[in-house]
Symmetry: C2
Subunit: 222 residues, 2 copies
C-alpha cells in the first residue's frame, strides 16, 4: 500500500554501496523425478531481508530455493532449488560481496542416489540412503577474505545454546536465532541476534520489520 511505499522510500540508506548476497526458501533434494526431501521454509524471512536491503540502498543478489513467493523488485534473483545448485550459485557470486546472509533452510542431507525414473512402490518398508551436503555458510565464512557472514539458526529446543554453538563452530560474527514454531511459514517472527557482545532480543514483529532491525545491526558491525 501507499503507506508502505512511503516508509520504504524513507528507509535510511545504511547499506548504500554495499553488495549483499542472501539465500532464501527451502531446498528440494530429489529422490526421483517427482519425490523429494524438503522442509517447511516459506522463503518469507529471506525475501523480507532482500527487500529491506534493497530499500536501504544495497545491491542485492537473492539465491532462491523452493518458494511460492515472487522476488522483490530491484533484486537480482537466481533460482537454485537443491542444496548442491544453491552452493554452486552462492560460490559463483560470492567474491565481490560485502555481506552474506544465509536464510535458506538448506537440506543437511540428500538422497545418495537420485533415480532417473519414478520409483514403483513394492515393498512394505524401505530404507533411503542419505549423504551429507556441503555447509554453505561454513564454506563462505572460511574463504580467505570472507564477506560479513550472518547465519540463521531455526531450532525446536535449546534455542540460544544451539545458536551460539553454531555461530562459534562456523565462525560467524552474527547469527539470528529463532524457534521454528515462531518462524516457519509465518508473516511475523520473534528472533534473537547473537554476536560476540552477547544476545540481543528483538520484539516479535512482521518479518519486514525484523529484516530492517537485523540489517541496521549488521550495518553497525561493518
Amino acid at each position: 500500500d501507499l503507506l508502505y511505499l512511503i516508509e520504504a522510500y524513507f528507509q535510511p540508506k545504511l547499506l548504500k554501496g554495499k553488495k549483499i548476497l542472501i539465500t532464501a526458501g527451502a531446498t528440494l533434494e530429489m529422490i526421483d523425478p517427482v519425490r523429494a526431501i524438503t522442509n517447511l521454509s516459506s522463503g518469507k524471512m529471506g525475501y523480507a531481508i532482500a527487500q529491506a536491503a534493497y530499500e536501504m540502498g544495497a545491491d542485492v543478489t537473492l539465491v532462491s530455493g523452493a518458494t511460492a513467493l515472487n522476488p522483490p523488485n530491484g533484486v537480482r534473483n537466481i533460482s537454485a532449488t537443491s542444496a548442491a545448485t544453491m552452493y554452486q550459485n552462492v560460490m559463483q557470486n560470492i567474491a565481490s560481496q560485502d555481506i552474506f546472509i544465509g536464510v535458506a533452510a538448506v537440506a543437511d542431507y540428500s538422497p545418495a542416489q537420485t533415480q532417473q525414473q519414478k520409483i514403483k512402490k513394492s515393498e512394505q518398508s524401505l530404507s533411503l540412503e542419505l549423504s551429507r551436503n556441503k555447509d554453505i555458510i561454513a564454506e563462505v565464512a572460511s574463504l580467505p577474505s570472507p564477506p560479513f557472514c550472518v547465519g540463521f539458526a531455526a531450532e525446536t529446543e535449546n534455542l540460544l545454546e544451539y545458536a551460539e554453538a553454531k555461530r562459534l563452530k562456523k565462525k560467524l560474527p552474527l547469527i539470528v536465532a529463532n524457534l521454528t514454531s515462531d518462524a516457519m511459514g509465518n508473516d511475523n517472527n520473534k528472533v534473537f541476534l547473537l554476536d560476540s557482545n552477547g544476545t540481543h532480543p528483538l520484539e516479535q514483529a512482521a518479518k519486514i520489520e525484523i529484516a530492517r532491525s537485523l540489517l541496521t545491526h549488521v550495518a553497525s558491525m561493518l
Copy 2:
C-alpha cells in the same frame, strides 16, 4: 475474467445432484518438525477438477494436501497434509459420495518414525527408514458399495501400460494417465482417459479444460 465467468456460468449442469469428493495437492510426510518427504504436485489439476465439478452443478468436497493455491469458490475444503490424515478425512466423508477422484499425489511411504525435535546433523551419511502408506483410492474402490472411482497415474515412462495396470489392480472404472513432465506444476496438461472401452486421448489444454472433458466423460459413465 468476465469471459471466464460467463463460460463457467453456462457449463452444462451434468453433475447436478451429484456429490463428489476430490483429493488434490502433495502430501508432506514429516521426518522431524521441519523436514519432510514430499513431491512436486502443485494441486492445480485437482483444484481445476473441483472448480469444474462445482460449475457443472455438483456438491463438491475437496481434501487438500500441501498446495499454495486458494480453494475454488463454492467448494467445501478440508486440509489434510499427510497421507494418514488424507486417508482419515477421505474415509470420514466417503459414505454419501457418488464420485471419488483421487488427484492428490499421496506419498507411498512415510518415515517409520517422526522425530519430535529437529534432528541435529552429525554423521556423513544416514539411513531413513520408510514404511508403506495406505493406498487411499484402492481402499475406497474396495468399499462394499463404492462411489464411481477415478484414479490418476503420473508416470515418467511406460505411461499407458503402467496406468492400465494400475486401473485393473485397483479396480477403477476410469483412470487418467499423464506424464509427470506434462502434468506437474504446469497450467496445461496432456492426458489419456483409460476405461474398459480403451484409451481416449485428450488434446493438450488448460487444466480447467481437461477437467471439464474428464467430468463430461465421468457423467457419461454414471
